[in-house]
């Protein structure tokens, strides 16, 4: 049986272009199961049917650790996709140059305020963000709007940002594509 409070929250999150991840960050900065994700899994057929009837493709039912909805028929990525991809690539580049990539996934790590400031001050990142029309404000503001608010990054109670399940899936995709490509 579906949970009315959770289903309402799921509806709002999906309609706002957010992803619903399998895990969330709890008060002690560790990852715990996300109740909204479990709610969908327990009533997968209902949620899937409901979104299909509303004209959306319900992505995630094929076993992904995250769910989101999209309208079918568009050939290319959306503006939001472009911003999210580019912001994540900026973060990956910044971290890989200075730290282990574990910083973005390990609960003891996370992107700190200092790191965000460093990203904001990097000229090559600034140019890329400008070309991606991420906004006139700082890149860190773009990260908050497009990554944190859309659940691609999760904020620890102490403020550091970690990749969510969807964010981690993107790191894996980048690695798998470029591990075998010579540019």
């Amino acid at each position: 049986m579906f949970d009315k409070r959770k289903s309402t929250e799921i509806y709002h999150q999906l309609m706002n272009g957010k992803v619903i991840n399998k895990h969330k960050i709890v008060n002690d900065s560790t990852r715990a199961e996300n109740g909204l994700y479990n709610e969908i899994i327990e009533n997968l057929d209902d949620y899937s049917k409901q979104n299909i009837m509303a004209g959306y493709e319900f992505v995630g039912s094929e076993g992904l650790p995250y769910f989101y909805i999209r309208e079918t028929g568009s050939e290319y990525i959306s503006d939001l996709d472009k911003k999210v991809y580019i912001l994540l690539l900026i973060i990956f580049r910044y971290v890989s140059q200075r730290y282990s990539m574990d910083k973005l996934t390990h609960e003891a790590g996370g992107l700190s305020a200092f790191d965000l400031e460093e990203i904001d001050n990097d000229e090559s990142f600034k140019e890329l963000a400008h070309k991606a029309q991420i906004g006139t404000a700082s890149i860190s503001k773009g990260i908050e709007t497009n990554l944190v608010n859309k659940n691609f990054m999760l904020a620890k109670p102490t403020g550091e940002l970690l990749l969510s399940d969807a964010g981690e899936a993107f790191v894996d995709e980048v690695k798998s594509i470029y591990s075998s490509i010579d540019l």
Binding site: D81, Y85, R93, L128, K131, F170, I177
Partner: protein
């Protein structure tokens, strides 16, 4: 001014940090022992001249150190003009003091040692016999070489151990997410350590190692030849054997260093692969940005049809779907003719339905007061069942029984009305819940 060598060395060691800086320069610049004199002059002015130590400020001047053969000063006509050359013994002494600044033995160093041993062996093998003067000279040379090699190999193991510890401490920064850790740099350092120093050390001390190339003997094979040559002098043979064992016993220590480094190597290799993948991904995107510079492309911004972005499938066509359902008109804005026009358009689109009076299809059912009174009285007197499945059917059946042929459909309406009036709503409830009244008068209604 000539100064006693021992006193000068003691003074140099008092200011060893200055000389370590020179050694670092040598280590970073192909070990040529040459250092620009300006570096020493700056160090002298900063750390020596300003001290109250008058002896140091006199003895450790550039001129004094040159005069006392600590430095070799290259004159103006030399191609290395403006540089000083540090004497080899000073370099060795400094490296001896600080193990972290000592150099590992490279494959070239080991090859030189091996060649020296083979050369001595070939000379001894071709000399007239163990009684000749040449033999004694060559054996003295051999023993000195063996002792030097033993100390060099021992020292090399210490240096490699320090290097492995350094790698380990750098690798530990990986787990401290606020300290700098570059997988690529560490990988390069590890690879270099393996290829240039650890593997040659292992090969040199490996008793089972075989050399490629005609007539070439490994260090161990040369020593074995010496031992065999002295089979008739067991004392000499056993002495050589002990030293050989001392050198080859370091094989296990180097193997231990190798195993330690290999453990880190596996992790660093994965980190480096990740680093390279992300570098490629970012540079690939950078190529698209490059095209937008200086009017190279008609677009000013990155477009959504770029292959470099459309190759990803982690998510696609994310959107703020609610935006599509927001009001197109800002009604909170000050009133204007736009509002009127919108209202007028809405009005035009609204279908106006005129009210039509319809003739009543059915006559309003009526019931006489007398009949109504009879039914109320019947209800009051009736002994109601405790559990009724269908109240409509129940009342109809009971009224039919009570009024037999006189029963008409409107009686049911009056009956229902009376029933709901006389039966207190507190005492009945729709199933399946059950409410107990104080008098236990319960009526089940479904």
């Amino acid at each position: 001014m000539k100064i006693q060598k021992a006193s000068l060395l003691i003074k140099i060691l008092e200011y060893k940090d200055v000389f370590f800086t020179l050694l670092d320069y040598v280590n970073d610049n192909d070990n040529s022992n040459d250092v620009p004199e300006i570096i020493y002059l700056q160090l002298y002015n900063k750390y020596i001249a300003k001290n109250d130590d008058a002896e140091a400020s006199q003895w450790l001047t550039l001129e004094s150190l040159t005069e006392n053969d600590i430095f070799v000063h290259n004159d103006k006509n030399d191609k290395n003009a403006g540089t000083i050359t540090l004497q080899a013994f000073l370099i060795e002494t400094l490296r001896f003091i600080d193990i972290e600044r000592a150099n590992e033995l490279s494959s070239t160093d080991f090859e030189k040692i091996r060649e020296q041993f083979q050369s001595v062996w070939e000379s001894i093998n071709s000399c007239s016999g163990i009684d000749s003067d040449l033999y004694h000279d060559l054996m003295a040379n051999f023993n000195e070489l063996l002792t030097t090699t033993l100390s060099k190999v021992k020292r090399n193991v210490e240096v490699l151990t320090v290097q492995a510890d350094d790698i380990a401490s750098k690798f530990d920064l990986r787990h401290d997410h606020s300290s700098s850790y570059n997988a690529n740099d560490l990988y390069q350092k590890l690879s270099s350590l393996f290829e240039k120093y650890v593997y040659p050390s292992l090969e040199f001390t490996n008793p089972k190692m075989e050399m490629s190339g005609y007539g070439k003997l490994t260090f161990v094979q040369v020593i074995d030849e010496f031992i065999q040559y002295h089979a008739i002098s067991p004392k000499i043979a056993s002495q050589i054997g002990y030293k050989k064992t001392a050198v080859t016993s370091f094989y296990k220590d180097i193997k231990r260093v190798l195993e330690k480094l290999e453990r880190y190597y596996r992790f660093v290799e994965i980190d480096r692969a990740n680093y390279l993948s992300i570098e490629k991904a970012f540079n690939h995107l950078g190529q698209e940005v490059e095209r937008l510079r200086h009017g190279k492309s008609k677009n000013k911004y990155l477009t959504n049809d770029l292959e470099v972005l459309n190759q990803y499938h982690t998510f696609k066509n994310l959107a703020f779907h609610k935006a599509k359902f927001t009001k197109k008109l800002a009604w909170k804005a000050p009133l204007s003719t736009i509002h009127f026009k919108q209202w007028f358009e809405d009005l035009k689109d609204t279908e106006i339905v005129e009210e039509v009076e319809h003739d009543s299809v059915f006559n309003v059912p009526c019931i006489s007061l007398q009949r109504e009174k009879e039914i109320i009285e019947w209800c009051m007197a009736h002994d109601w069942d405790r559990n009724v499945d269908d109240i409509h059917q129940y009342i109809q059946t009971e009224l039919k029984k009570a009024f037999s042929n006189q029963y008409i459909l409107t009686d049911l309406l009056a009956g229902l009305e009376s029933f709901f009036v006389i039966v207190d709503s507190k005492f009945y409830i729709r199933s399946p819940k059950k409410i107990k009244s104080p008098k236990e008068n319960i009526i089940w209604i479904t």
